[in-house]
Symmetry: C2
Subunit: 124 residues, 2 copies
DNA sequence: TTATCACTTGGAGTTGACTCCAAGTCAAGT
DNA sequence: ACTTGACTTGGAGTCAACTCCAAGTGATAA
């Protein structure tokens, strides 16, 4: 699969896909004889994984380190697990903060609804 | 309350507190006769609100607009409610993405746990 | 009174993550 | 043969959100 189709399928820009590969966030993709990227099924899985991780805000440098470890084989499984566990902890913290923000937003919106209601009562 | 104590209490740097005020994310804080900021209870509430919103990633320009509307009084209540509702929608989307990422992380970590277990079995 | 220290300002610099650009290559259609 | 269009590269530019810096001020302690 060529880069344009990958870009379309995952809604990631061409530039970003090439950028990810350049910095090692995705291992080098195979090329045809004229040097054009041809994404394999495995490449697509990798793109999907990175998209998922990035969408939650996992930092690029951490993901680059993780991908580097994967390349080194089974002896890095413990290290990889450690990275993912650490990121999971941080994600849980962020989700908790977001829940608090959501609570705050819900509260404020409700206050505004009531303010509007009160005005309507005054008018009628 | 002086800026150092506010910084300490909310874990926001001095520079960031001043930056927030400069760009209008927090209305001007009162000063004593020598020009030093003296945060009131209301100022602290505002700092806390902004910290909460920022911790969930609400963009600064949106918050600046919101704070500007608050300054303009009750006639902007509908507009403010609109902003908060829009941000709430986006927050829900982000939380959903994070949940998916969390599921993925949990799955991967479990796979690694099993890989380690399998190795241990081989050894024993 | 002199040094220290927390504060002030305007402006410049940094960071992370893209995003854009110019110049070049290749395969396919007219 | 020539044009078009999708691809390639290295490198520069952008953006949001800080973060740092230098120079200055005023209150307090030795």
């Amino acid at each position: 699969m060529k880069i344009a189709e990958v870009s379309e399928r995952y809604d990631i820009s061409l530039d970003t896909l090439r950028y990810y590969e350049r910095i090692g966030l995705i291992p080098p993709v195979n090329r045809n004889k004229s040097g054009i990227r041809d994404y394999s099924e495995i490449d697509l899985k990798r793109v999907e994984f990175i998209k998922c991780m990035r969408s939650a805000g996992l930092p690029i440098d951490v993901l680059v380190e993780y991908v580097g470890l994967v390349k080194q084989g089974d002896k890095t499984i413990e290290a990889r697990k450690g990275i993912l566990k650490e990121q999971r902890e941080q994600l849980l913290v962020k989700m908790d903060e977001m829940q608090k923000t959501l609570d705050m937003l819900n509260y404020k919106i409700e206050v505004y609804e009531n303010a509007v209601l009160k005005k309507e009562k005054e008018i009628i």
